[in-house]
């Protein structure tokens, strides 16, 4: 009962844990502190990171950032040991709004801010890390209106950073349509006029018209006719509004430079797909640059053509601008379009591949665009005084495999990544897979199993990333070759019909300690085997649910040769094996017959049924009712409980019996029925209120509970316990080997012999406790040679004497070394594990204890100090133990399909200064403190 409860709690507790981590931020309102693995403040620091940095946010603003910042005691600390923090990205050229529908080639009336939905849900953009965006009224008109700067989340009232932003001029846009004014309604008084022509009609007149408009605006020249669009542009120009000129092709970029040369106001050039042709001039002009990557990679099937005019995809431009860079005019990156090109980090990656330095690329999506848009005092960097627009990423911001986990805008959570599938990527400088050593490698764990191991593994979009660093050393989880975790002091020997794996359900604090020590699998069995052997289960030390906690239900059979004559021990094992063999033959016969029967049936033949004499078997059965019961009736208005004996007898579903009053003086007849577990009894005593009726349920064996009622007036509690079971029914059961239609009947399953079947197939090994050379040889000859069963020798204290016998059968023999690593032999210190491992015998280590398994790594360390190589010790705890038990397809290795049990050490596990940093079992990290799962 208890174990069931605990097991039920674990998933709930974990769910709570997840919920807490998700809601922690919302509790914090807009004041909190974040401690992350790495903080990129950007701004002046460029791509330089602060390791283990802290960001303190108060009332939605950043008040402090750094590695040694004290955390105010009144603030909630959000600890993100794997998280990377950087400022929200700023996109200086989105097409979130516009192009507007107006016909005017030149207009100052149109404001992008009017088209911005302040209440919109922009989480699909926040997902990519963009928190601030420049919006413009379109790139389809020469002067399309005024841009704006907005935030993509948070309180709608504070989403607008700049409402009346830069005047947007587009070069390279021409062929403006005439404006037709249709009178309402047309008459001879008011005729339909021909459309009013607009400039520019060609590329040639575009720059001219722009210059003309600017000159007129600057000089305040009166208009020929009332035109609010030109008027509004002129007013905006005179108010010294900033200007952004969008130009893509080299010729237009040159035009833009000419247009803006000598301007004292804030200007920038945007687009610049062909900037590589004019990169040096562009840099020399000192104009802030917003480079748009209009990538062709979205349509790989579309050729750009050999012409020199064919647009580049912008990556070369980014590289050229990045290389030509001198001075400190800001350079921002953006991309137009949807899909990956809307993702600023992807754009930064393309720019870096084009040759842009990493430092510049990171600035180009954070502080540089913030400066260009005139909002550098608000966003674009993590620095005191700025708004807390912060990203939490699973990895570095310029790593395209990392993703945004959470976005804060003005200190409030604006986006939270949906809880993923739980995929996990572990990155480390050294990875020992159990078979080979890899450097700078990654391990992907999905659905609790290892999905990939390699230099660069796939990163599912929602993967958690643990970047353990270049010094880290990753190994498979350790295996205890013989332990009793979960037995809780029960030292009895379990029979061959019971499986110890059910004890894994206990999963208590002791399991946690063992797991935290790095032992993730225990080859678990009872203390000592029974005469007929005991089962061994491979259980995990951490996980939610049975599936995760049990690596293999039946992983071996445990026999003992010690304490008896070797021949006697062998014959006992042989006896069990022979019984199993016979049993297996029964099954084999059944399968053969079944196969024949199926074939015959498929062929339409009738199977001849020989008239065989049915076998007779005795079967004993006790019914649940018959016997002597003690009953008690309680409840108002009875002054005290009425108790007494009753006898009941079951016949089919009918119950008859007698009930005595407490004194045992009067006796009344009972009659009733049994329906499933429901018992209904009528007492044959006529009262004024009718016959008393008892309705009870058989809740556990020999006990029933329910009510006793007297008419509608009274209802009492009724309870009865069987004190003496009735006579045992002995039925003779006749069984036939074939059913009526000739279909063979399967043999009866014998749980005690089932494991022997597996053993005989060689799928699981026999764990044999043997010490003397005689015992070891007898075991090897019987099991390995005669029955082809792999053997794991337990303790085998004198194995070195027969080491040649062991080596001869190398693939089928392993030794679980004694718990005492070093002991005296021939008055000299001797370490068996070291000796055997040195001679090439597979060795595993054991705890022979419950939570004592947590000292297993220290045991290995001790063995190393006695001369065992660190690598050999590692093998003993992982691959060798797994191989000798034939569980290497589950545990002991880091290979696709194996359980996701990963240990992260700060160095080689058996270096003195190495520390076990983190433990992952079945893809789930084992928390440092057991209580954490209940928090």
């Amino acid at each position: 009962m208890t174990s069931r409860n605990k097991r039920g709690m674990a998933p709930i507790a974990l769910a709570c844990l997840l919920a807490i981590s998700a809601s922690a931020s919302s509790l914090a309102a807009d004041s909190f502190a974040i401690r992350a693995k790495r903080v990129y403040p950007c701004g002046d620091r460029g791509a330089q990171a602060i390791e283990n940095g802290v960001v303190v946010v108060r009332d939605g603003r950043i008040v402090a950032v750094g590695a040694d910042v004290p955390i105010p005691s009144d603030l909630l600390l959000i600890d993100l040991p794997d998280g990377v923090v950087c400022p929200g990205f700023v996109d200086a050229g989105t097409d979130l709004v516009g192009p507007h529908y107006g016909d005017e080639s030149v207009s100052g009336v149109y404001r992008a801010i009017d088209g911005f939905d302040r209440y919109g849900d922009y989480r699909t953009l926040l997902e990519t890390g963009v928190t601030t965006a420049s919006i413009d009224p379109g790139s389809h008109r020469l002067i399309s209106g005024r841009a704006a700067v907005v935030r993509l989340g948070g309180d709608p009232a504070s989403r607008v950073l700049v409402a009346d932003g830069a005047i947007t001029i587009n070069l390279g846009v021409f062929g403006a349509q005439p404006i037709v004014h249709v009178p309402f309604y047309a008459s001879s008084d008011e005729m339909i006029q021909p459309g009013r022509a607009q400039r520019p009609s060609s590329r040639l007149s575009a720059l001219a018209e722009a210059q003309d408009q600017i000159r007129r605006a600057a000089m305040g020249m009166p208009q020929k006719r009332y035109d609010i669009h030109e008027l509004a542009f002129a007013e905006a120009w005179r108010s010294q509004a900033p200007v952004r000129v969008q130009a893509r092709e080299a010729v237009d970029i040159e035009g833009a430079m000419r247009l803006l040369s000598g301007q004292q106001r804030a200007c920038c050039v945007v687009g610049l797909t062909e900037a590589d042709d004019v990169a040096n001039e562009l840099i020399a002009s000192g104009l802030p640059i917003v480079l748009s990557l209009e990538s062709s990679y979205r349509w790989p099937a579309r050729d750009l053509g050999p012409s020199e005019d064919a647009m580049t995809d912008g990556a070369e431009s980014a590289g050229a601008v990045g290389r030509a860079r001198a001075g400190d005019s800001p350079i921002a990156l953006t991309g137009r379009g949807q899909g990956p090109i809307a993702d600023l980090r992807m754009i930064a990656a393309l720019a870096m591949r084009g040759g842009m330095p990493r430092d510049l690329a990171l600035r180009a999506i954070t502080s540089a665009p913030a400066k260009i848009l005139g909002v550098e005092d608000r966003v674009g960097a993590i620095a005191p005084g700025r708004d807390a627009d912060i990203l939490v990423l699973s990895g570095d911001p310029l790593d395209i495999n990392s993703r945004v986990l959470r976005t804060y805008i003005a200190g409030k959570v604006a986006y939270e990544a949906p809880r993923g599938s739980g995929a996990l990527v572990v990155r480390a400088g050294h990875v020992w897979t159990g078979e080979s050593m890899m450097t700078d490698a990654q391990v992907l764990v999905e659905n609790g199993k290892i999905a990939a191991v390699g230099a660069r593994v796939p990163h599912p979009r929602d993967a958690r990333i643990i970047d353990a660093g270049p010094d880290a050393f990753v190994t498979p989880g350790f295996i205890d070759g013989h332990g009793h975790l979960g037995f809780e002091g029960d030292r009895g020997a379990a029979g061959p019909d019971v499986s110890p794996h059910l004890l894994a359900a206990v999963a208590n604090r002791e399991f946690h300690r063992v797991a935290r020590a790095g032992v993730t699998t225990v080859m678990q069995t009872s203390y000592g085997p029974s005469q007929a052997g005991s089962r061994i289960s491979a259980i995990k030390t951490w996980g939610v649910g049975y599936e995760r906690m049990v690596a293999q239900e039946l992983a071996g059979m445990y026999f003992s040769m010690t304490g008896q004559e070797p021949s006697q021990g062998a014959s006992r094992i042989k006896q069990a094996l022979e019984a199993g063999k016979k049993y297996e033959e029964e099954w084999k016969k059944y399968y053969d017959e079944l196969k024949k029967w199926k074939e015959a049936k498929a062929a339409g033949k009738k199977v001849e049924v020989k008239d065989e004499k049915p076998k007779e078997e005795k079967e004993e059965k006790v019914d649940p009712i018959t016997g002597l019961w003690d009953y008690s009736v309680t409840g108002d208005p009875l002054p005290e409980p009425v108790e007494g004996p009753m006898t009941l007898e079951l016949d089919g579903t009918k119950i008859t019996g007698k009930l005595s009053d407490p004194m045992g003086e009067a006796e009344v007849e009972l009659s009733g029925t049994l329906n499933g577990t429901s018992v209904r009894l009528e007492v044959e005593a006529d009262t004024d209120l009718g016959k008393p009726v008892i309705n009870a349920e058989l809740d556990v064996e020999d006990h029933m509970k329910g009510t006793a009622g007297l008419g509608d007036m009274f209802t009492f509690q009724f309870e009865a316990t069987r004190v003496e079971r009735g006579k045992v029914q002995i039925t003779m059961k006749r069984s036939r080997s074939r059913g009526k239609d000739g279909k063979p009947v399967p043999p009866k399953i014998n749980e005690a012999l089932e494991p022997i079947r597996m053993l005989l197939k060689g799928e699981i090994p026999a764990l044999v406790a043997a010490d003397t050379p005689a015992e070891i040889s007898a075991a090897l000859e019987l099991l390995v040679d005669e029955y082809k069963i792999p053997v794991v020798l337990l303790d085998a204290t004198e194995a070195t004497a027969v080491v040649e016998d062991l080596k001869k059968r190398a693939e089928n023999v392993g030794v679980v070394a004694p718990t005492r690593v070093e002991r005296m032999r021939d008055e000299r210190p001797y370490a068996e594990a070291v000796d055997l491992a040195g001679q090439g015998v597979r060795v595993a280590l054991q705890s022979n204890a419950e939570d004592g398994a947590r000292s297993l790594p220290n045991m290995a360390l001790f063995a190393v100090s006695l001369g065992m190589g660190g690598d050999a010790a590692l093998r003993a705890l992982t691959i060798d133990a797994a191989r000798m038990y034939r569980v290497d397809d589950h545990v002991g290795r880091l290979a696709p399909g194996c359980d996701g049990d990963v240990l992260i050490f700060s160095g080689h596990p058996f270096d003195a200064d190495s520390r076990l940093e983190r433990v992952i079992v079945g893809g789930e990290e084992v928390p440092e403190h057991y209580e954490e799962i209940f928090e």
Partner: protein, 466 residues
């Protein structure tokens, strides 16, 4: 009241009587309103106060004279004994284009238009509204415009627009949400342009009038254009301003002095019903109204999403008209999960004054204002608030609170008689009085009677089941 014998005799009469538009017959007796009408023994929901059981409403010459338990009934009053019935004020539809022939003109700015010219009394819409207990409809151009024209409050009875309307229109329809073929940038650009052009129009008019004045006085031009614009302002006459600019001027509060030939003339200011389809439009609507001086005369006509802007709405202090669709449906862009929000609760909780609208789909119960109010109560809005939202609030919002919206002495004798509680869905409207005239009677409603008698259900099936 709904006796079967009478019903069958009427059926016989139907063959020779004018078969359609029974309500119109009542309307034709408009001029001969009974002098005094007493509605007695009913449960009265005055809206302005708590319900009164077993009360009398005395209507004299179209106006309510007295309401209460102990009202002396004049000997000559026409008495309607309404035992077991409930009387509430006639309901008000605060914003609907359906009395007009088309929802909108094709041009964006048509401030000179007046709904009066497009009201079509023959629309079945009016008959339907009467049947549903709606006794006043604020008929306005729809939201597919920039500035749509002036609306009118009308009764659902009468043979001509003149008989139907409650006087001059007081509100222009304005939309900040993009009309068809426009986006928000262009929509707001055009609105700003319109008001700016109004300034320019007045300047040019002033300059022209000043020059004309100089000509009349045979003087030469003595000042520059800027000064001329200032001096000419007072010379503008009413007839100088065209209709479109006149209504815009009235909207902005008629900031210029207008001298007519008959002396100074004051333009009555107009208010605005501003269409806001999305939450983001609310801010733009409030800004436009504030910048151009009509915020105090503004009513916001909201779409379902606007509940998100509740803080801005509350801060603006303006009353709102809620849409017929009271539920906002939303799909999460990341998970694709759909969610629904009942929007009225948000407005009620924020304490914003609101009126409910009937749904426009005639096959759904949303067309009944009582159903809309009942839904609100079901979702947690207080009953008195929900009832006000279909009567008194609407009357205040459309500027007719002195005549409509509650049963109080002095107001119009415009009431609806329900067979039971108005928010009980099995109640039916049995009679409607407009200004004391019994204009609707379920028993003589030919369409309803035909529906009932032609159905396959047995006699009495329409009665409330016990």
């Amino acid at each position: 009241m709904n006796d079967r014998a009478g019903g069958s005799s009427r059926t016989r009469c139907a063959a020779i009587a004018v078969p359609v538009l029974a309500a119109w017959l009542a309307a034709s007796t408009f001029a001969q309103a009974p002098e005094r009408v007493a509605l007695t023994e009913a449960r009265v929901l005055p809206i302005s106060g708590p319900p009164i059981e077993n009360a009398t409403v005395l209507i004299e010459r179209g106006k309510i004279k007295e309401v209460g338990r102990d009202v002396a009934i004049p000997f000559d009053a026409r008495v309607f004994k309404l035992k077991g019935k409930t009387i509430m004020p006639g309901m008000i539809n605060p914003d609907d284009w359906r009395g007009l022939d088309t929802p909108n003109e094709s041009r964006p700015v048509t401030a000179h238009l007046d709904a009066f010219d497009a009201i079509d009394p023959s629309r079945l819409f009016f008959e339907d509204e009467l049947r549903l207990g709606i006794t006043a409809i604020h008929t306005l151009p729809a939201g597919n415009c920039t500035i749509g024209g002036i609306g009118r409050v009308v009764r659902p009875i009468g043979l001509s627009p003149a008989e139907m309307v409650f006087g001059e229109g007081e509100f222009l329809k304005v939309s900040v949400s993009p009309r068809g073929g426009a986006d928000r940038i262009v929509q707001l650009g055009l609105l700003r342009e319109t008001f700016r052009e109004l300034q320019d129009y007045q300047d040019r008019l002033a300059e022209k009038r000043y020059e004309e004045k100089l000509k009349e006085d045979e003087k030469d031009i003595d000042v520059g254009p800027e000064e001329a614009k200032k001096r000419g302002r007072d010379l503008i006459r009413a007839q100088d301003i065209d209709e479109e600019h006149r209504n815009l001027l009235r909207l902005t509060g008629g900031k210029v002095k207008v001298l007519g030939e008959e002396g100074p003339q004051v333009f009555e200011p107009l208010g605005a019903f501003i269409e806001c389809a999305g939450a983001t439009d609310v801010g733009a609507a409030v800004r436009i109204a504030r910048d151009n001086g009509f915020i105090d005369r503004t009513v916001l006509c909201l779409g379902p999403e606007c509940y998100k802007a509740i803080d801005e709405i509350k801060e603006s202090g303006r009353p709102v008209v809620l849409p017929g669709n009271l539920v906002y449906e939303e799909t999460d862009p990341l998970t694709g999960k759909r969610s629904e929000t009942f929007v009225v609760t948000r407005f009620a909780d924020a304490g914003v004054k609101f009126a409910l609208s009937p749904g426009s789909n005639s096959s759904l119960p949303e067309r009944m204002l009582t159903y809309q109010a009942a839904r609100c109560v079901r979702e947690g809005v207080r009953r008195d608030v929900a009832l006000k939202a279909i009567t008194l609030n609407a009357a205040e919002i459309i500027g007719q609170a002195d005549r409509l919206g509650s049963i109080e002495a002095g107001k119009d004798g415009t009431v609806v008689v329900f067979s039971g509680d108005p928010l009980d869905f099995s109640s039916v409207i049995e009679m409607v009085f407009i200004e004391g005239i019994p204009v609707y009677n379920r028993a003589t409603d030919r369409r309803i009677q035909r529906l009932i008698s032609h159905s396959d259900t047995p006699e009495g099936a329409d009665d409330k089941p016990e």
